[in-house]
Subunit: 227 residues, 2 copies
DNA sequence: GCCCTTGTTGATCGTTCGCTCAATAGAAGG
DNA sequence: CCTTCTATTGAGCGAACGATCAACAAGGGC
């Protein structure tokens, strides 16, 4: 990899005197892998050891450990948000169920990732607002447009006439949660289950989507005027 | 702060010189609440402060912090396992879907608990085998008998003739995960969502159960001989 | 009243944490 | 070859960690 001088104990030569840009990227990627593995209470000394660098070097690039973690949030969650998701759930050329299916298949493939899932729940446990803010985005930017489309497809009142009810969101979050749980069992609970989680989630969608519109209709009508 | 007879800063008088039994129980319950809140990396000094006792007293009742955490596992998970669950899923007087519904409603009510859910995922993040072992119990003691009953109800080969397939378990874990996710969003991600999570889960079951047997039949037949 | 048992504490040990700073060393320009 | 710039490091700070131990104090039996 690099070079006449310096190699880490793990065998990977670090190469010293990187450009600031490269070193920063190396630190961020190493921090993502490390904190995903041991949790956000991981230690800066151990992170530095894994990177093959001295611990004070971390503080040259990030003023505090908290700042490094904040950077991880941006890198793993905000940067990986796909604007295409917001487009597909509004794609009038597709039936709503197909929009939902396409979103979930793509979304789950993106977040069924060791670092994504583990740092997400780790942040939730530490009381950071990242998970609630992120799921708020899913709710408002993905599920709300989907529910609006489902209302229209079922000839039900628009959200303007009858605001979206919590129970309608729960319908989508229920299916969503079943799909997320597949990844959680593997990445967080450490269960080496079915090899092809993509296929498992596709099957779950096949089982859950056909009845969704009818259930949604019932929920909306039950929550309608004088309901 | 500490007058003649000692009181904690939180207002609750600690009362010193408890019997060993009472002190131990107080420590265990306090530790459950504390580690659930801050994670298993919480500090013994802070735990002692919240209990209104000196930190070394913890080590009189538990030799190490790890031993205290091990005790928490027994208290929160193994002791709260309900033998009735294993009975109801084998109750031949009920249709399988009703057995499943009753199990899930009771089970979810038990585990939708701040300490239960947070310590569970915290243990998973720390790489402890508690979550995988616990879900292994659910799989073998709950879902396996349920699937066997569903096979019988649908006049399909028994697990003896055709072993239970991973895809069949995923069918149940899918619905299960959707229900667990309701609690996770509230207890771990900090989303104060629908007030009545019991009702939300009941609605999810109403939506998911009716199609379950038919889907299960398809899965078993697809995975059958020369499948 | 006194003693004995034992629940409880203050002081403290060795280690490790996040973080700082002066000194070092590798690359680029003359 | 020498200077300049800066990425990088070794040494170390104050604080907090898990854990230890001798000393203290609250009851119960005599």
């Amino acid at each position: 990899m690099v070079s006449s001088r310096r190699e880490t104990t793990t065998g990977g030569p670090t190469g010293r005197r990187l450009t600031a840009e490269n070193r920063e990227r190396q630190i961020v990627e190493g921090a993502i892998a490390y904190f995903a593995e041991v949790g956000l209470d991981g230690h800066t000394r151990e992170l530095a050891r894994r990177l093959g660098i001295a611990q004070p070097l971390l503080f040259r690039y990030f003023p505090t450990k908290a700042a490094l973690i904040e950077r991880i949030y941006q890198e793993v969650y905000l940067r990986r948000w796909d604007a295409g998701w917001e487009a597909v759930v509004r794609d009038g050329a597709l039936p709503c169920l197909e929009r939902f299916r396409r979103f979930e298949i793509d979304y789950q493939r993106r977040i069924d990732d060791y670092a994504w899932l583990r740092i997400f729940v780790s942040a939730g446990l530490k009381g950071f607002d990242l998970p609630s803010r992120y799921l708020g985005m899913v709710r408002e930017r993905i599920f709300a447009p989907l529910l609006e489309g489902m209302r229209a497809e079922s000839n039900l009142p628009s959200p303007r006439e009858q605001p979206l009810a919590p129970d309608e969101f729960e319908l989508l979050f229920g299916i969503h949660g079943a799909l997320v749980y597949v990844g959680l069992r593997s990445r967080v609970y450490g269960i080496d289950g079915t090899p092809d989680r993509d296929a498992v989630r596709a099957a779950m969608l096949d089982a859950a989507l056909p009845g969704l519109l009818a259930t949604h209709r019932r929920v909306v009508i039950a929550g309608g005027p004088k309901g």
